[in-house]
Amino acid sequence: MATTFPFELVSPERLVFSGKVTEVIVPGTEGEFGVLAGHAPFVSTLKPGVLTIKGDGAPQKLFVRGGFAEANPQGLTVLAETATPLAEFRPEVLAQMIKDAEEDVEDARDEATRQKRQLYVESLKSAAAAIEADSRTAH
């Protein structure tokens, strides 16, 4: 049995997950990272993507968007504006989000915001691809 550590996934409306886990894979802005017990103190912002919780039983996957992850000696905390289990997640919602974000790109007034919004669109798209790949393996 691998060592476990406390993990909390919090959204503004409620505490989504709280418990002991062995590994969590978090979609960070600068790339996905896995957190095991005893991770160095660390703060990273999130990009839209799939968060995987590995503990007892099958790994749980959730779509998270907006927020940050904080690892400290007491454990890992992820604060996400939205956190939806993939099973309950509807692809149309994400498709709409991508569409909105693409419109934002076109509305951008200067190059810097345009690039930032473009990056956001790409991260949404890669999240969509990841979710689709996941649903294919699940069936």
């Binding site: 919090v10 503004p12 409306e13 505490l15 960070g28 103190p41 912002t45 940050f68 904080e70």
Partner: protein, 294 residues
């Protein structure tokens, strides 16, 4: 002197009112429990957000690339007052105490020569403020859903405020809401949200902890990303506190109303019985004196 029929009608109408206030009290009690649970569920998020932000803020503040949301625009000429109230009345002094706090602050600021703009959330704050500050009200948001506030509502308000801030329409923003203390006590509170402030004890408790963390991307980037989110979180927290306060205030107001109605019914019934007896006595006297005259 009111006739017996009038008295009966009056008692019946007070009884009907009492039934309504009683029902409203019970509805408010049920809603209060839900609102309190929502407020408690949101607390961990707001707390963690505050801890992390105050850690980073301390490391970054004073630096040249510190974001404007934290340091402010360097001026305080234009103040935005975000007034969070309810959509419905009949909840005691809940709305009026928030409005009073806002009004006092607005007059104090205007006396100092500052410009005041008002952003209303909820119709019950808008109506009394419109009479005093009609030209200064820049926005009105109504939250008319029965399902309670969602984070999306708070986000929408925060987005509007951010857009106004980026357009340079104000320098300092303060939100007014009612902090839920207990069912019988709600404290109208003013909280400055732009530039962001953190509770003193929080900052002191985290002293020295900031240096240990690794940040990805850099501290300043995280801060620019998190501060707008924090705005939404603070507004959301205030909305939830307000929701619980509103129900608490309504519950105690309706409890009082029910009790008053009960007292009134008792008094009216006493008058009714006395009048009835007086009438019977009068009739008897008439019959007896009629019989004696024969």
């Amino acid at each position: 002197m009111a006739s017996l029929k009038d008295l009966r009608n009056r008692i019946a109408s007070v009884k009907a009112t009492q039934k309504i206030t009683k029902a409203m009290q019970m509805v408010a009690a049920a809603k209060l429990r839900r609102a309190q649970m929502a407020a408690e569920a949101a607390r961990p998020y707001a707390q963690r957000m505050e801890t992390v932000l105050s850690n980073i803020a301390k490391a970054v503040s004073g630096g040249p690339d510190a974001p404007v949301l934290l340091t402010g625009t360097g001026k305080d000429n234009v103040h935005l007052l975000l007034v969070l109230t309810a959509e419905r009345g009949l909840c005691g002094a809940f709305n009026s105490s928030i409005v009073r706090l806002t009004r006092e602050r607005a007059y104090a600021l205007m006396a100092q020569g500052k410009t005041v703009k008002i952003f209303c959330v909820g119709r019950k704050g808008y109506e009394p403020l419109r009479r005093l500050f009609e030209k200064q009200i820049v926005e009105l948001v109504e939250l008319r859903s029965n399902k309670g506030v969602t984070f999306a509502d708070a986000q929408a308000i925060a987005d509007k405020i951010m857009a106004m801030f980026s357009a340079g329409e104000f320098d300092v923003a303060t939100q007014f809401y009612s902090r839920f203390h207990s069912v019988i006590s709600q404290v109208p509170t003013a909280q400055q949200i732009i530039p962001a402030t953190f509770p003193e004890e929080q900052v002191a408790a985290n002293d020295g902890a900031a240096a240990v963390y690794d940040y990805e991307p850099g501290e300043a980037e995280i801060l620019t990303d998190l501060l707008p989110r924090n705005l939404a979180v603070q507004i959301f927290k205030a909305l939830l506190e307000n929701g619980a306060s509103e129900q608490g205030a309504r519950m105690s107001a309706m409890d009082n109303a029910t009790r008053n109605a009960g007292d009134m019914i008792k008094k009216q019934t006493l008058v009714y019985n006395r009048t009835r007896q007086a009438q019977i006595t009068k009739e008897l006297i008439e019959i007896i004196s009629g019989a004696e005259a024969l």
